[in-house]
């Protein structure tokens, strides 16, 4: 199902990055050629005055010019980068996740965001696309790098009303999808450091637990380099009296490096790292445009 729409968006963003790099290269080449011509002209017009200092100055100017233009070309490559995998369960959870990311995201690092969405979850898919467009718009208004993203789909382990007889098969397919999403490098960023996600974030429900479990197994067999696939679980702010089932499972299996609850009443129970509604700064890191 991940056909046209996401490819089109990915291609559009990829093209713009490549286009930027290409343009800068062209500018550098033209500048270099014009400097050489300039040099020759000077030599011909004022031969007696040419000495080592002029040549040195020309060399310094060309090198500096080259680096200045490289900086432009490096807007994407030059920034420190990271790759975060966000797992979206369904409707309300996705909305909450997007709100947390939208308010807190900054451009200190150029991020690649991979969103994992259920194959049957068109609503979440549309919400994510709408968010990414808003983000691109907002960051480019402030002349900031909004990074890249892709969306990958996973099948559910068990669909609502599905027969238990067929469940093992869909469960295996779902597991394969999860492994595929965790291990496919983002082709927008063919950099070895971004081979595997640095951080995995989820706020439930069930599938988030499966993702964290599989990631834990991949780390156990040392398939992923050390320090990658660290995990964050965020309990919904709507859980005010008790943890959700997914939250309880993730906590008792110790699957999350950072476990966040958002209600003061849940703080401090059994090593739960607790912060009150920390996930949404009161003022967005990059201001929203209210027109």
């Amino acid at each position: 199902m991940d056909t046209n729409r996401d490819r089109v968006v990915q291609a559009a963003i990829g093209n713009s990055v490549v286009g930027l790099a290409k343009n800068s290269v062209v500018v550098v080449v033209i500048l270099g050629i014009s400097l050489v011509i300039f040099n020759i002209v000077i030599k011909f017009m004022a031969r007696p005055h040419v000495n080592g200092n002029t040549l040195l100055a020309i060399i310094i100017v060309s090198v500096a010019g080259y680096f200045i233009f490289r900086m432009d070309a490096g807007m994407v490559r030059g920034l420190p980068h990271h790759y975060v995998l966000v797992i979206c369960g369904s409707g309300g959870h996705t909305a909450e996740m997007i709100q947390m990311v939208e308010r807190s995201i900054n451009s200190k690092k150029s991020s690649h965001r991979r969103w994992a969405v259920g194959t049957d979850d068109e609503k979440s898919y549309d919400k994510i696309l709408a968010f990414e467009y808003r983000l691109l718009d907002r960051f480019s208004r402030h002349d900031l790098d909004s990074g890249t993203f892709d969306i990958m789909r996973f099948g559910r382990a068990r669909y609502v009303h599905q027969s238990w007889l067929t469940t093992p098969f869909t469960a295996i397919l779902s597991l394969l999808d999860i492994i595929r999403i965790l291990t496919t490098p983002p082709h927008q960023r063919p950099i070895p450091a971004l081979r595997y996600p640095g951080v995995i974030v989820t706020n439930g429900p069930g599938t988030g637990f499966l993702f964290l479990l599989v990631a834990q197994l991949l780390k156990l067999i040392h398939l992923v380099p050390a320090g990658h696939m660290r995990t964050i679980y965020v309990e919904s702010w709507a859980r005010v009296k008790s943890l959700s089932l997914t939250g309880k499972l993730i906590r008792s299996w110790k699957l999350a490096d950072i476990f966040i609850v958002q209600s003061p009443t849940l703080a401090g129970q059994d090593n739960v790292v607790a912060q009150n509604l920390l996930t949404m700064p009161q003022e967005p890191s990059v201001p929203y445009d209210n027109e």
């Binding site: 409707g91 909305a95 909450e96 308010r103 640095g198 009161q282």
Partner: protein, 204 residues
Amino acid sequence: MSEANLRSRHDRPTRTAFVTIGATAGFRSLLQEVVSPKFLATLKSLDFTDLVVQCGPDLEYFDSIRPGYSQKAYGLDITAFSYAPDLNKYFAQASRGDDDNGKRECGVIVSHAGSGSIIGALEFDSKLVAVPNPELMDNHQLEIAEEMESQGFLIHGTLGSVAEAVEKIDKIVLRKWPPGPSPGSAYQEGGLWEAINDLMPKSS
């Protein structure tokens, strides 16, 4: 609509009550209540001009219980629809701001107490009355409404006295959403993204 009526609509600011019952389950008891004479009279006494109702699966039912189109009940324009992909337009209509025709007064949003609706509505400069749906047993709606009211973000409305809850909106000052981080919690400034940055491999 008479000409005098038209003119008066343009002269005074609009004030909208937006009722939403969410995207998943029906909530007929709330629909019944917001067209009850008591509720409509309350809106009229608070100078409301518009009532917009998102009915979910029960649009036909709502049409059967609402006051007739011809009689302008309590001076209110009542409109209804079943679903919309994005409710922001309606949330905005019920909050303070400028409209095409002039000023809007801060209205009220009456919502079921689902977490998605609450968090969506709180983004707007409006007053929120959250009414838990008692038919959804394990949905924690009551829990959410009580906790959010005790933290001062909204007014917890109960079936049978939604009108009384709406009467409070002009007297109560609600807290701005989202709240700041609690003292002692990590990542005070940067929120979730700072936590993500913090956990990233240091080499990159």
